[in-house]
Symmetry: C2
Subunit: 343 residues, 2 copies
C-alpha cells in the first residue's frame, strides 16, 4: 500500500524578529548563516536531498524573498517556489502546497512538511525518522515528529504518546500547549511527553481531505488561488490564519507520532543559540556564566557577565538579558516605528 | 609675602588599564577624548591656562608618550615635558618637577600639581579654588584640595577637616584611606570629610624641604638625575616608588586643605563614566537600569540590562558587569601575556 512518491515542503515565510539585528525584514533568520557557513534554509534543503529528488521539493516563502531563495537554493526549480503575498500561519501554506502537489502527482504522493529555521544535528537520523513517518503516512495517518525532550523546555508544545501503531509510531494521545516550568519538569520525568517539532508527514489526499473536514473555508479558499506560484493578495488575505496543529492535528482522529532519532532545537531566540553553537567571532571570557555571543569578524570580551546575549551586526551591537529575550519582538516593533532603517 | 609666580605640573604618566579596550599601552586614558572632543590631558592643560602662562606648565609623562604630548599640547615648550623612563608613583615625579622649577625660578615659585585624567566641571571654580590654595601655599602650607563628597564613595581617600587657617583653608586633621561603604556613609553624614582629589599647591622650596626631611633618599636621587628632560633609566629606577600622600602629606605638620569650588570625579573606571557623560555613540535602551555605553560611530542597543558597561573600540567590544569593573586590570594583565596585540 504505497502513498506515492515523497515530496518535501519547506516553510520559509518567517520574519525572525527575535534575531534582530542580524535578522531583518529583508533578510530574516532562515536566510542567515547563523550556525554555519550555510544558511538555515540551505541546511534544511540539504537534509531533504537524501529523501527526495530536487524537483520534488517545494518552498513556500514571502513574495519579497523570491530572489533570496533562488540564490540560496539554485537547484530548486522556479515553479517549486510558492510565493505568499503575506504570512497566514501554517495551515494555508500547507493547504496550498498540498494542492500544488495534488496537481503534480495526481496518482498520489506523500508529503513531508518542515520549517526552514530549525537545527537538526543528525542528517542520517533525520532520514531514518522520516522513513518511519512515511510508513505511518502510507497507512493513512497524519504523522507528526515528536522529539524526546532533553530539558524541561517551556517554549515548546508537547505531544503525549498514545497507543503503539507500528514500529516507531504511536497514536498521539494529546496535544499540550507550552507548559509552565513545573509541568515541563513533570513531562520530562514521565517520559511519555515529546516536543512537538512542527514537522509532518502525510499523504497529500489525506491532508486535503482533513482540510475539507476541519477547515472547509480554507480548502475552498485555496482551491480559488489557481495554479500559480504568486496568487492574488486579496484572495490570500482571505484565507483563515490558523496553525495546522490547532486547525487540523488537534481535531483529527488519525494522528500519529514518530519519535525523532535526532537532536532538534527550534533555535527560537538568541539564548537558544548557545545550545546549538552559533558563529561567535572571536570571544574572550572571564568570570562569566552562560552567554550567547554572535559576531563574525569582531572580538567580544565579556567580564563578569551571565545570562545574556551580545550580538553584532552591521554597526549595531545588541546586549540583551535572557529574561528579556522575549521582549526583543517588542523592541523591533518599536524600532519599526521609530527607526525603520534599522529593522 | 609672595612665594613667586605660579607654575603648573601635570602628571600624565598613567597607564589607564581600567579603560581598556579604548585605553591601551600606546594610548592610555589621559590621551583619549573619552568625554569630549578634547582629550583629558588637553582639558587639564586648558584649565591651567587661566592660572599661569603656557611656558609655566610642566608635563611629566612616560618617555614613550613624548610625541603624543607634543601633538596634543603643541603650545607647551619641549623642554617643559619631563619624560620618565618608567612610572615610580607620584613622589618621584613631583620631586623631579620641583627640582626643575627651582632651577627655572631660583627666586621662588609656587607649584600646582594636578593629575591629567580627572573630570572637573567648572573651570572658574577651579581657578578660584587654586587661588585660595596659592594663598595658603604662600603662607608655607603644603596645600591639598578637598572635594565635598556628593555620595558615599568607597574608591577615594578622605581628608578630615581640622582647624581653620584662613578664608577657605583648614588644617587637615587626618588622612583617611578608602573606607568601606558604612564608613563612607558616616563620612558623608558628618560633613567634615572631603575627598582627597590628589591636587596640590605648595611653594617649590617647601616641597623640596619636605622631601629632604621625609624622603631623603628620594631628594638625593632626584638631585642626581641632572638637568635633563629624559634621565637615566638606571637612576630613575632607583628612586623610591611612593605616593606623595603617603610619603609627605601624612607625615608633615604644615598641611592645609582648601575646599573645592567645583565638581570633581577621578573617572576611575567605566562605571564612573556614567557620572560624567561619556561619548556614547548612538544608544537605544529598553527596560534598562544604570549602564555605561562608549562607542562613537556605533549603535548600541541594550534590552533589560543594568549595572554594566558596553565599550566598543577598534573591532573589540567589552561587556562588563559593574561588580567586575575592578577586575578589568586583571583581564588586561592576562591579555598582556596571551594577546599582547590587544593591549
Amino acid at each position: 500500500m504505497s502513498g506515492g512518491e515523497l515530496y518535501g515542503l519547506i516553510m520559509a515565510g518567517g520574519r525572525g524578529t527575535r534575531f534582530w539585528p542580524v535578522s531583518t525584514r529583508s533578510n530574516p533568520k532562515q536566510f542567515l548563516n547563523l550556525l554555519d557557513d550555510s544558511t538555515m534554509l540551505q541546511m534544511t534543503a540539504e537534509r531533504l536531498r537524501g529523501l527526495c529528488p530536487d524537483d520534488h521539493v517545494l518552498v513556500v516563502t514571502g513574495s519579497s524573498y523570491r530572489k533570496t531563495v533562488a540564490a540560496q537554493l539554485p537547484w530548486i526549480p522556479e515553479e517549486n517556489v510558492l510565493l505568499e503575498p503575506m504570512g497566514r500561519n501554517t495551515a494555508p501554506c500547507i493547504a496550498w502546497g498540498a494542492q500544488a502537489l495534488s496537481r503534480r502527482a495526481p496518482d498520489g504522493a506523500v508529503m513531508l512538511v518542515v520549517p526552514s529555521d530549525h537545527s537538526i544535528d543528525d542528517k542520517a537520523g533525520f532520514e531514518s525518522t522520516v522513513r518511519v513517518a512515511v510508513n505511518a503516512a502510507e497507512k493513512g495517518y497524519l504523522t507528526t515528529i515528536g522529539v524526546p525532550p532533553t530539558r524541561p523546555a517551556t517554549g515548546y508544545g508537547y505531544l503525549k504518546r498514545g497507543k503503539r501503531i507500528m514500529d516507531g509510531a504511536w497514536k498521539v494521545a494529546e496535544f499540550k500547549e507550552k507548559p509552565d516550568l513545573k509541568t515541563a519538569r513533570d513531562y520530562l520525568d514521565q517520559g511519555c511527553y515529546l516536543w512537538n517539532a512542527g514537522m509532518f508527514v502525510w499523504k497529500v489526499e489525506e491532508i486535503i481531505g482533513s482540510m475539507r473536514s476541519f477547515l472547509p473555508d480554507l480548502a475552498e479558499g485555496v482551491a480559488g488561488l489557481g495554479e500559480v506560484t504568486f496568487p492574488s493578495a486579496d484572495r490570500y488575505r482571505e484565507l483563515p490564519s490558523v496553525s495546522v496543529d490547532y486547525g487540523i492535528m488537534e481535531k483529527a482522529s488519525n494522528v500519529a507520532m514518530v519519535e525523532a532519532l535526532f537532536g532538534w532545537d527550534d533555535v527560537g531566540d538568541w539564548p537558544a543559540m548557545r545550545r546549538v553553537g552559533v558563529r561567535k567571532g572571536e570571544v574572550i571570557l572571564q568570570d562569566c556564566g552562560s552567554c550567547t555571543v554572535y559576531g563574525p569578524g569582531r572580538l567580544t570580551v565579556l567580564l563578569g557577565m551571565s545570562d545574556c546575549s551580545v550580538v553584532h551586526s552591521n554597526g549595531i551591537t545588541l546586549v540583551m538579558s535572557d529574561e528579556h529575550a522575549q521582549d526583543l519582538k517588542k523592541l523591533v516593533a518599536r524600532l519599526e516605528k521609530e527607526r525603520p532603517d534599522l529593522v
